[in-house]
């Protein structure tokens, strides 16, 4: 399940090219795909007929077999992570839609003794999938429930998990195995699924099994891969997933048997989102034409009111008037030119912003809970913006910050002494950098961590363009600020505009950039207060150290002149220390 328009554009470009080639077959030499040169030594002029022999439909599956990098399967290491990500996305979406608190198990294991072959297994406690759908969901590209609706979910297009299966089949020759139990009384089944890449159809078999589980799904994909830890690893991805989804329980088993458990610290599921109809302002001409073709409404006015959100009789009438279309005209009778006028009229008309109930932001409280759970820091803060709209699609931006490595900072005790905070711990923190390193930026779209292409992402640009010096941090020109800090940025939307199908970076629409900037500033202001306080304390600590460094010398000189005994010296030292500390109240 994948991405945005541009992705879609490319996706269909393949098919469209093939189509066009068929249509334009008469015009020799126009096709770029022509492998004509293969003929080699024999010089032969192509004819329309000779070319036509080679021209045929390209299936989506075949297209992706050749272009697997578009889906995030470009290297063995990344492929393994992408597969986990797609499977986890699906599991979480399914659980949340069924209002089940997700319990997931992710396991990566080696196949035999092969260094490069792994089996990825993701099991959930979701509602399961009914028998007839399983082969399609896992064995067919572009098959899913999420593409045709406007509603916030992790998956968007129905490519991901089947692409992972296809990649596995391609690199190991082995089928995908799926177990599913769709409800308490359903029979648990195990499916073995192969994808016929030429037809984009699954070939499968199923058999009932014993499975001690109330309901749920388990998918196991054998694939070529490379397992590593550290940055941009599966381990990090799951940790980030746990940050943005504090309601999830997740158990992760690595190939060497190491088990990591991410415990939920809230039972609050993301609130249920409503599906919305498209907002007229987000609609492009091609989509408008398609909607007209598919509409059951027989008048333009009814079409506008019922196939779009936020259009009432008055607005519909206004649009029709501006476009010079009778409201009672059957929309299917409108020619392309008139539909163009209709679109212009829509853009020209004031229409209420789309309903925001389709968005489920995480919320400031849960962002902080999530950060606390997985990132050890001195202080946490979050800013959650109200949803707004880009191109007719609602979205919301949220920012969270975890600042300060525990033990690196100073605290003031009630008696006015300054001490290093006591919870100093060994640093094996994956997410938080050192005080002299750039901050770590963690990006999320619809609660899914984005681990690749950081520099191409609108979120990074917004963070870099924010002036963090205002909030007491250092920041080299055109770079991330410096400090012991994690910046968490989440964009929730019914349709997140990714820059590619592998869903790695977000496109920088003006409205999105503006909201990102505001959210970062909101959170930055909260941070500024804390940083300034810390700096003041550090400065004071330095000064007091300076004082205590010289106190013994003052007392020693007095001792030499006045011949004080040890008791008097000790008393004078404590007195002097007290006097000076008292005089430096903050």
């Amino acid at each position: 399940m994948t991405s945005n328009e541009s992705g879609q554009g490319q996706l269909f470009a393949g098919a469209a090219e093939a189509d066009m080639a068929t249509k334009k077959a008469g015009k020799a030499g126009s096709s770029q795909k022509s492998p004509a040169k293969k003929a080699g030594s024999k010089k032969r002029t192509e004819t329309a007929e000779s070319m036509a022999k080679r021209q045929r439909e390209i299936s989506v599956s075949e297209f992706f077999t050749k272009n697997r990098h578009l889906l995030g399967f470009d290297s063995p290491r990344k492929a393994l992570l992408t597969a986990v990500k797609e499977a986890v996305d699906n599991s979480l979406d399914a659980c949340e839609e069924a209002r089940i608190a997700p319990d997931l198990e992710v396991k990566i294991e080696r196949i035999g003794s092969n260094e490069k072959q792994f089996r990825m297994i993701v099991e959930d406690n979701g509602p399961g999938i009914v028998k007839t759908q399983v082969p399609h969901v896992f064995g067919r590209l572009l098959y899913g429930s999420k593409f045709h609706r406007l509603r916030q979910s992790r998956g968007q297009q129905g490519i991901g998990i089947s692409a992972a299966g296809m990649y596995g089949q391609l690199t190991t020759g082995q089928p995908v195995k799926v177990r599913s139990k769709a409800g308490r009384r359903a029979v648990p089944l195990e499916f073995t699924i192969r994808i016929d890449t030429a037809k984009n159809r699954p070939e499968f078999s199923d058999k009932p099994i014993e499975w001690d589980k109330k309901h749920g799904t388990e998918v196991a994909i054998p694939m070529e891969g490379e397992y590593r830890r550290g940055q941009r690893s599966i381990q990090e991805f799951l940790k980030l997933m746990a940050v943005a989804n504090p309601h999830v329980n997740l158990k992760f088993t690595e190939p060497d048997g190491t088990v990591t458990e991410y415990q939920r610290n809230t039972n609050e599921l993301p609130h249920e989102v409503e599906e919305i109809k498209p907002h007229p302002h987000g609609v492009e001409l091609g989509i408008l034409l398609k909607m007209i073709q598919e509409s059951e409404n027989r008048t333009t006015s009814a079409f506008l009111q019922q196939d779009f959100s936020r259009v009432g009789p008055t607005v519909a009438k206004e649009i029709c008037e501006k476009a010079g279309v009778k409201p009672t005209t059957n929309p299917r009778r409108l020619d392309a030119k008139t539909v163009g006028r209709l679109k212009d009229a829509i853009d020209d008309t004031k229409i209420k912003a789309p309903p925001l109930s389709c968005i489920a932001p995480i919320g400031e409280d849960l962002i902080i809970k999530g950060l606390k759970k997985e990132v050890e820091a001195d202080v946490y803060m979050a800013a959650s913006r109200k949803p707004v709209v880009y191109r007719g699609r609602p979205f919301a931006v949220e920012v969270g910050i975890a600042y300060g490595r525990p033990g690196d900072t100073l605290e003031m005790t009630d008696s006015g002494k300054i001490v290093a905070s006591s919870n100093k711990q060994k640093n094996d923190e994956l997410l938080m950098g050192n005080a002299d390193e750039p901050v770590r930026l963690i990006r999320f779209a619809n609660r899914v961590p984005l681990v690749f292409q950081q520099s191409a992402c609108a979120i990074s640009k917004a963070v870099i363009n924010t002036n963090w010096r205002n909030y007491g941090l250092q920041q080299p020109r055109g770079a991330l600020p410096i400090g012991p800090m994690v910046i968490f940025v989440h964009i929730a939307s019914v349709w997140v505009p990714f820059t590619s199908e592998s869903k790695e970076a977000i496109a920088g629409y003006d409205e999105i950039m503006d909201e990102l900037k505001r959210a970062l500033m909101d959170c930055g202001r909260k941070l500024g207060k804390h940083v300034r306080k810390g700096k003041k304390l550090a400065n004071e600590f330095k000064k007091r150290n300076y004082i205590t460094m010289y106190i013994p010398h003052v007392v020693e000189a007095l001792k030499d002149i006045l011949e004080l005994d040890d008791k008097e010296v000790d008393k004078a030292t404590t007195n002097l220390t007290d006097v000076l500390e008292r005089s430096r109240k903050l």
């Binding site: 300076y546 106190i551 010398h553 003052v554 000189a557 007095l558 030499d560 006045l562 011949e563 004080l564």
Partner: protein, 391 residues
């Protein structure tokens, strides 16, 4: 009782050779008493859980009042140094120096300023970073105790200064430090060399028939007048200061002039430094040492030359150099802030004239008219009319 305990401790610590303690002189007892009093004050504040503080006389021209008879006199300006972040290091160092001073008095020893600076290297974090730091702290202590009439010599800190050079019809009566016997030093009998003023001159007596003392800024000019035995021909004493006269040189001139009722004439470069630093310091003292001017200034001195008017009178215009920025700043500063120049219209006129001409002239500029022009022409002409000298 305290002293005894202390000695044993010091011996153990430094393994210094044990030597029989001479009973302290009365002066030394006063010094130790004042040091104890000061430390007691600080300790008392600490016991009362108050912030300790010390009040130092302000050492600057702002705190100087000009008295025509006695030079610069210290005003009532005081700087209160309360123990705080900014002062804690200096505070510790000041007390350490006082402790050191007390120890030296008790052991009848002394330290030069530079030695004191090196002693501080043993103080850990409280050590001085550079000698100017230790000098400043020492000057503060000196000023603090000068209020009680205790001089620096009594605190056992000595300057490193090289003394001025003396030649002429003068017998200095010194004492042998070991035997106490009288030592007569005839300043005419140093051949091509000259007598050097030592750092302590308080016990000196003089015998002379000279008519005046000429104080010369540059070593070169002193050498010329000495080489040609000019002092014999004019029956005078010449003293070369090589720049700003040291304290002992100033004290020597003052004592000599007081004892023998001799006029003192100054022969300097005609530039703001020669006038406002060298001559002014000799005559009335400096802002930095305002607390000791009463001993060290020579109020009876007057300025023979080179004056700005001399540049015109002796046709030296083409032997001058333009004033640089520092010169101009120094001259303007003297006009604006220096109570000495405020008090003398003649000086204001002279400095303004120099500023207007925009040039300075060195003593050696007189060589333009011949190497010995200064002895044959310049000085005789000037000495013919001492009333015209600048005050």
């Amino acid at each position: 009782m305290a002293a005894k305990k202390k000695t044993t401790k010091k011996v153990a610590k430094k393994a210094a050779p044990k030597k029989a303690r001479k009973p302290m002189s009365k002066l030394d007892q006063v010094t130790v008493g004042e040091i104890n009093k000061c430390a007691d004050h600080v300790y008392g504040r600490i016991q009362k859980l108050d912030k300790p503080e010390l009040k130092f006389p302000e050492r600057s021209l702002k705190n100087a009042r000009y008295d025509k008879k006695g030079g610069f006199v210290m005003g009532r300006g005081r700087i209160e140094r309360t123990l705080s972040v900014n002062t804690v290091k200096t505070f510790a160092q000041t007390l350490k120096l006082m402790a050191m001073s007390k120890e030296m008095v008790e052991n009848d020893d002394f330290a030069t300023k530079r030695e004191a600076y090196y002693v501080s290297k043993n103080w850990g974090e409280a050590k001085f970073g550079s000698q100017p730091e230790s000098d400043t702290a020492m000057d503060d202590i000196e000023a603090l105790f000068s209020l009680q009439g205790v001089a620096r010599e009594q605190l056992r800190f000595r300057p490193e200064d090289h003394g001025g050079n003396v030649a002429g019809a003068l017998v200095v009566i010194d004492r042998d430090r070991e035997t106490g016997a009288e030592e007569r030093i005839d300043c005419t009998r140093f051949g091509s060399g000259s007598y050097t003023i030592p750092s302590s001159v308080e016990h000196f007596k003089f015998e002379t028939k000279a008519k005046f003392v000429l104080v010369i800024e540059t070593g070169g000019m002193f050498a010329r007048l000495h080489e040609h035995k000019w002092w014999r021909d004019t029956n005078c004493i010449i003293i070369g200061t090589s720049g700003v006269p040291t304290r002992s040189t100033r004290r020597f001139i003052r004592k000599l002039s007081d004892d023998k009722k001799l006029p003192v004439y100054c022969f300097n470069d005609c530039d703001p430094y020669g006038i406002s630093n060298i001559y002014r310091t000799l005559k009335v003292g400096s802002g930095n040492a305002v607390h000791l001017n009463k001993f060290f200034c020579v109020p009876q001195a007057s300025y023979l030359g080179v004056t700005p008017q001399d540049i015109v009178d002796f046709d030296l215009e083409n032997a001058t150099h333009p004033l640089n920025d520092v010169d101009i700043k120094r001259a303007k500063d003297a006009l604006k802030n220096d109570p000495f120049f405020h008090a003398h219209k003649e000086w204001q006129k002279a400095i303004k004239m120099m500023l207007k001409m925009g040039v300075r002239a060195e003593q050696q500029a007189l060589a333009k008219h011949g190497l010995n022009f200064v002895m044959e022409e310049y000085l005789p002409r000037k000495l013919a009319a001492p009333k015209k000298f600048l005050p």
